[in-house]
């Protein structure tokens, strides 16, 4: 085993497409800073640092999946969205990817925009949309929270993987002979199984935090004001 790289290496996607996604990622992160500031108070700031550090740690833990010789690891989009919300969550993922590329030689620096778009933008966005939907539909129980985390994690991983397929279609450097479907198939199937692992890790972590400190789970805090019409006002309403 010569390397432990897990992100897109240099040379896989051509320069112009990598640059295009660098611009997309920069714009998205600028928006995330602007919107995330509203969420970041004295308490959430160190918590969000912990979430980034935790995602860095768990991304190192490759677990075996269905076929021999293939492993998977957490991406962390759903976990971040659950714990610190979509904007700060996206920034957490971006920091992890930047540290990995600049310090650990994992993922080309020129490819950073592609990875940030897939995991910090697409992964977090898909996860948060599902979280917002499922928390409204499912019962407000531990099981409901666990199912929300699991499904959001699973789906976000598969969609993020397809984000790479889109990027490869736009600027992949190898001639697949028009057989992009083959790459899409292997990416989708392997990430479906990785998504199961991601779902289990995400659900376990979120449920654990929710039991210790429910006030530190963003998705649970954000849910309360989400239905203002049904909450009686203190002091009575006419």
């Amino acid at each position: 085993m010569e390397t432990l790289a897990m992100h897109i290496s240099n040379g896989i996607i051509n320069g112009p497409v990598a640059a295009l996604f660098a611009v997309i990622a920069l714009a998205a992160m600028a928006l995330a800073v602007q919107r995330g500031r509203q969420d970041l108070d004295d308490r959430l700031a160190p918590m969000a640092g912990l979430v980034a550090a935790f995602i860095f740690a768990v991304q190192m833990l490759n677990f075996p999946i269905f076929t021999a010789g293939v492993s998977g690891h957490l991406l962390g989009g759903a976990l971040a969205a659950m714990l610190v919300g979509p904007w700060v969550g996206a920034l957490c993922l971006a920091v992890v990817l930047v540290v990995q590329a600049l310090v650990f030689g994992d993922g080309g620096v020129a490819m950073l925009g592609l990875s940030i778009t897939n995991m910090a933008v697409i992964g977090v966005a898909v996860a948060y949309l599902l979280i917002a939907l499922l928390l409204r539909v499912l019962p407000r129980t531990v099981a409901g929270l666990a199912v929300t985390a699991f499904v959001a994690a699973l789906v976000s991983v598969v969609v993020a993987a397809l984000g790479f397929v889109l990027q490869y279609w736009l600027g992949g450097t190898a001639d697949l002979g028009g057989n992009l479907a083959g790459l899409a198939g292997t990416m989708a199937v392997s990430h479906l199984f990785i998504g199961i692992g991601e779902g289990l890790i995400t659900a376990t972590t979120v449920v654990t935090v929710a039991k210790v400190r429910p006030d530190l789970v963003y998705a649970l805090r954000a849910r309360r004001p989400a239905t203002p019409a049904t909450v009686p006002t203190v002091g009575g309403v006419r």
Binding site: M1, L44, G49, A52, G72, G85, G105, D106
Partner: protein, 129 residues
């Protein structure tokens, strides 16, 4: 606020254990992305591509590399220590960079600092944007 420090310390400890110890038991096989890009190539026991045709053959050198490249410590022969120490350093570095950046851009001046999650009527909910 006080209780949050306990939670932070506990969480960091868990992350350090995962990256510093458990990481040594991680699967050595290529991940979903890497293995998908090797589809079509033959690979030997060391993971080196030996033949065929696949996207991974287009890979180019990393711009920086550096002493912690590939989650190890350059020059340290003990694999367990090399992976564990680099992982632990990564956790602390990520916490410092992310926590520091978030602290710098945080919202200031509204409400008493460190007050527990109080629902103030009329407070805008940023999550609903």
């Amino acid at each position: 606020m006080k209780r949050s420090w306990g939670f932070l310390a506990g969480g960091l400890l868990v992350a350090l254990l995962l990256a510093g110890v458990v990481s040594n038991f991680a699967s050595p096989h290529p991940d979903g992305l890497d293995s998908s890009l090797r589809e079509g190539c033959t690979v030997d026991a060391d993971g080196e591509i030996t033949g065929g045709s696949c996207p991974a053959q287009q890979e180019k050198e990393h711009e920086i590399g550096g002493p912690l490249a590939d989650y190890g410590i350059a020059g340290l022969d003990n694999d367990f220590l090399s992976t564990g120490l680099s992982g632990g350093l990564g956790v602390l570095l990520t916490f410092a960079v992310a926590g520091g950046a978030f602290w710098l851009v945080r919202r200031r001046g509204t409400g008493p600092a460190g007050s527990p999650d109080v629902d103030r009527p009329g407070t805008p909910t940023p999550s609903q944007g």
